[in-house]
Amino acid sequence: MESRLPMDTVVDYSSVISSDLDLKIDYPVRFFFQLDPLVGISSLLSGHKLIKGFMWAAGLLFLTLFLGRIFCGFICPLGTIHHVISWFRPSLKGERMVKANQKTPSQRIKYFLLITIIVGALVGLNLSGLMDPISLLFRSLALTVFPGLGVGINGIFDWMAASDVKILNLMSYSGEILAAPLFGYGYKSYQTAWFIGLLFLLILFLNRIRPRFWCRVLCPLGALLGLFSRFSILRLEKYQDKCTNCKVCTRVCQGAASPEPGSQWENSECLMCFNCFDSCPESALSFKFKWSSPVLNKKPDMSRRAVLAGLLAGVSIPLLGRLDGRVYKVSDPRLIRPPGSLPEKGFLNLCQRCGLCMKVCPTNVINPTISEAGMAGFWTPHLVMIQGYCEYTCTLCGNVCPTGAIEEFSVKDKIERPIRIGSAYVDRGRCLPWSGNGPCIVCEEHCPTSPKAIYFRKEPVKGPEGQVTEVQLPYVDLKKCLGCGICEYKCPVKGRPAIRVISAGESRSLENQILL
């Protein structure tokens, strides 16, 4: 209890006071997305936009041309997790592992997924976020792993704080301060988080069936880098004469890339983990730089079937995705996008569904969609106002978005332009003063605009016993309302509040408007 100054606000307090500086996240949270060529290329093809920091991805592709899939073996954070899990007490032993590490046709699935994503992006829907390893990892960590641990840890602290043993109280207070920077105070929640978490666990579990199953079979980024490693000059040299055919190299090969002498090395499958070369007892393998070789590396095995299926899926998914009318007809009233979001079509062309905006949101209002944005927009961000609200002077979601689906904006833009995300309306049947159930001004009190978008008229209202009292009845001035949703969030009518926000009036859309 001695010190309760929380260290969780990630800002230097002294820089903020008496200046107009926006609070920003200074950590390079977008770096892995900038390094990820699949994010860069799909954004370029669908959104016709070079994302900020694309040069990193271009550099990585250039490097891959010479060195192969070193990203998979040395940089990819999801690959690292898979590698560790596959290496730690492997489930298969000896001969069974050798068998599991033979190349199989299922490894073509990743090329199918890659082609689907690339063609889909050309047709106009960015699907890469669903399967891209960086997006998948960030989404899983931000929306399930950390909040899940947070729920557990804060639950223990709350239990300790409620106990009547004083020492437990004190321990919980100091424990909370230590845990808060990582897990925050209180309990976070995200729609469909259980599903995201379950998928993540499943993907991790697949390593028990085949080492790095995800990287071998499913990862579209791996497929892209595999294509680029066609001309790699860092090559696996095999010395047939030294080989005793012990198969140790195949047993430790995590990419199923046929390292053993006597077979042709699958260059595009190789994750550049160097396990084979490291474990060969006879030094029959080595990685060498070779400039001009009469034999090129082996062609990536993607099969005509995978290409055709990819083409078909890539064309049809974006078209099918528009059939639910969310883009052309009318948007779901509950589809309230974060401030600074692009118009819906442009948004779907860039959003990676990575969950960064949801993680950074201080009020936990941004959630993955289920059906609000249609099939095409599954897991894209939207605001659920009964869970939080958009804070008037907060700009963090635009600050962290890696592709610019949410454009970077300043507090000044947000207030003065202004950026509207929707508009509020009063449900008079539920509202306390309107229904004669008593005075209440909570929505007006919290309305952050100046002058306030919620105003009163004093009028007599008949109560339940017929008594007439003069109360202040709330009205919404649509010209001033920004749709921030703090009225809905703070409304004392719980469950379904008496004032609610719909997306109509959002400034990103020309059609979805109410006023002239």
């Binding site: 309760r4 969780d8 307090y13 006071i17 704080a161 306390l432 100046s450 009163f456 004392p492």
Partner: protein
Amino acid sequence: MKITHPITRRAAIKSLLKISGSLALSSISGLHFKAPGPAWAETVKEGFIIEGLGQKEGYSVKELTREVFKAAGGMAGFVSKGDVVAIKPNLSWARRPDLAATTNPEVMEALIELCYEAGAKKVRIVDNTIHDAGRCFAVTGAGSVAKKTGADLVYPRASLMKKMKIHGHRLDVWDVFVPLVEADKLINLPIAKDHGLSILTLGIKNWMGGVSGRRYALHQDIHQSIVDLAQFFKPTITLIDAINIITKNGPSGGSPSDVAIKNTLILSNDQVAADAAAARLFGYGPEELGFILLGSKWGLGTSDMEKLSRKQVIL
């Protein structure tokens, strides 16, 4: 509890259960309520009210704060050596200090320094904010004040909210922000602002930030609710920050045009008197504000300035 009607057996059992329940709760949370006798005796003692005005161009707000306390006989009269002091500012909104939606950081800084100079062991800044607390602390300047002075900034987290017996006329049991009641001395440090329902938000209304739970339901009987809270918290002193006040579009303001410059501080040991004096700055008499009327009625304090020793400090 005031009993105005014959009590039924059922009601008697109910209230007995409630009282025993709250006693059990109070022992769980390790809190010791003051016996009602001496607490009432304190308010009978003669109160004071001191008004500080900064009239000179470029006067120091911190200096004015110090002068006001000097006129009250020094901080040592309120804070003893080794005390844990809780300060309850109004940090509700993530707004810049110049928009006057939150307590002036310079006043808060001077106040904390004075507490430490008087020998306080620990000073805590305690407020259950409306906007996200982390952002409020950063934007309002409370964070940098805490850093500079070494005071604790208590994050309003769920584990620090405990159900307590309010003993009010309207409120029975409510979630209370624990550090406020655990402190040896409590200083109310509100900012004076316009408000849509209670007309003004001054010292008494500031206690809304000392509770949690379904506090937005309190607006259905705002005047009695906040007077109940003020009677529960019983601060040692109230210092109303009226350096800049919000005269319209309150309580959140948001535009410099909502702010009026008053360069005033009001210090009192009488919660009602402090509010009545601050209300004058907005042009309201004490009889126009429900919480002042109720506060006088229930013996929380007086709005009759003649009953207090009054002083004015001008810088």
